[in-house]
């Protein structure tokens, strides 16, 4: 079955991973800007990174027949330095015209600090000014519930951002409801240790009738599985999901959200 990987950090993955994902049916990968595992020393480092995910990575993906899209931002883990953040955000508008850029992301919070919140709000303003889709990262582990609440509170101040054009990612059982109830889309991230296992992600999908939800691997340089989405689709079959409902999660839902960007071209299924 064809599927869309709506969140994968492919700069951290090998070319073998692209091949394995293609063999598993992946037709589209979306790559949000993120933390490289270390702090970049200057805005120029981000300019190079933005060129990598808007120009180079689409070519790597294309070798395997995969469409590649990206999102741009300075991630919350590097947002404590507000001067650097301002320099990086000033770079973003020129890259928004690249043909594979879908919006601003993954922005959000990490440790829920004042500076992170300030930079998050500046990104929201950027998205609002440029009418961009928004992809939001919610914090890890013990910081997630508080951070999600702070994020949802901040979004209330941006009336120009339609909740249906904002996706709040990495939700779990204690945050999915508060996100979906306010009209936002939500993402379920499949990680071996933190975030959701396939079984729990399917529980949440069932509890919310798979409405305004997508699943992703968020595969990166850490412990993660680029095939987490097809593994979850297989578990859905074992749990009695119909083919049509599996396709809704694997393809229709991400397509519905991403198609709000005129740059997103739905590929034909193999």
């Amino acid at each position: 079955m064809n599927y869309i990987e709506p969140h994968g950090h492919m700069v951290s993955r090998t070319t073998d991973d692209y091949e394995r994902m293609a063999l598993a049916g992946c037709a589209v990968i979306c790559e949000p800007a993120f933390w490289a595992g270390f702090d970049r020393a200057s805005a120029q480092g981000f300019a190079d990174y933005f060129r990598q995910i808007t120009q180079y990575e689409p070519k790597r993906a294309a070798r395997f027949g995969i469409e590649h899209y990206s999102w741009l931002c300075i991630n919350p883990k590097e947002a404590e330095d507000t001067a650097l953040a301002a320099e990086v955000m000033a770079l973003i508008p020129e890259f928004l015209n690249q043909p594979n850029v879908l919006g601003i992301g993954e922005i959000g919070l990490n440790k829920n600090s004042r500076n992170e919140l300030k930079v998050f709000e500046q990104h929201l303003q950027l998205a609002q000014d440029h009418q961009q889709l928004v992809l939001i990262h919610t914090p890890h582990l013990e910081d997630k519930r508080k951070g999600t609440r702070l994020i949802l509170d901040a979004l209330k101040n941006f009336s120009g951002l339609n909740p249906g054009r904002v996706l709040v990612d990495h939700v779990e059982e204690h945050t999915a409801g508060m996100v979906l109830e306010q009209g936002f889309w939500a993402g379920l991230t499949l990680y071996p240790e933190s975030k959701c296992t396939p079984a729990r992600a399917i529980d949440i999908l069932e509890n919310f009738r798979a409405e305004q939800l997508w699943i992703n691997s968020a595969c990166d340089w850490g412990i993660s599985d680029p095939l987490a989405v097809p593994r979850t689709l297989q578990m859905m079959r074992q749990r009695g999901w119909t083919q049509a409902m599996i396709e809704r999660v694997a393809w229709n839902n991400p397509t519905q959200f991403l198609s709000q960007s005129p740059k997103f071209k739905q590929p034909s299924k193999a």
Binding site: K111, L141, R200
Partner: protein, 97 residues
């Protein structure tokens, strides 16, 4: 908006019991291990013990209750982020960065 079609009924116990049993034994063994090593007072182990109580809740809200029990209960932003990582449980004030 497309129609929701509920999954057909399958035996979820057949599908998940052995996995759940294995994880429960691993959890028990972990608690034994840290106790033998004299590390049972670590705040993360204490948080785990408190979270285990959520398993006895009568409603099907146990996963949410466990996650809530591990969560930072505060609501105000931190003055400054001095670390990047999270440890999985809410640290006591003297251990917060």
């Amino acid at each position: 908006m497309s129609q929701w079609t509920a999954p057909k009924t399958v035996n979820l116990v057949d599908l998940g019991f052995m996995d759940a049993r294995s994880k429960l034994i691993d959890l028990a063994a972990f608690l034994d291990r840290v106790e033998r090593a004299g590390q049972q007072d670590d705040f993360r182990v204490q948080a785990l013990r408190e979270a285990i109580a959520c398993l006895q809740l009568p409603q099907a809200q146990r996963a949410k209750a466990v996650l809530d029990s591990f969560s930072d209960p505060s609501s105000e932003p931190l003055p400054v982020a001095t670390v990047k990582g999270a440890c999985g449980a809410n640290p006591p004030p003297h251990l917060r960065a």
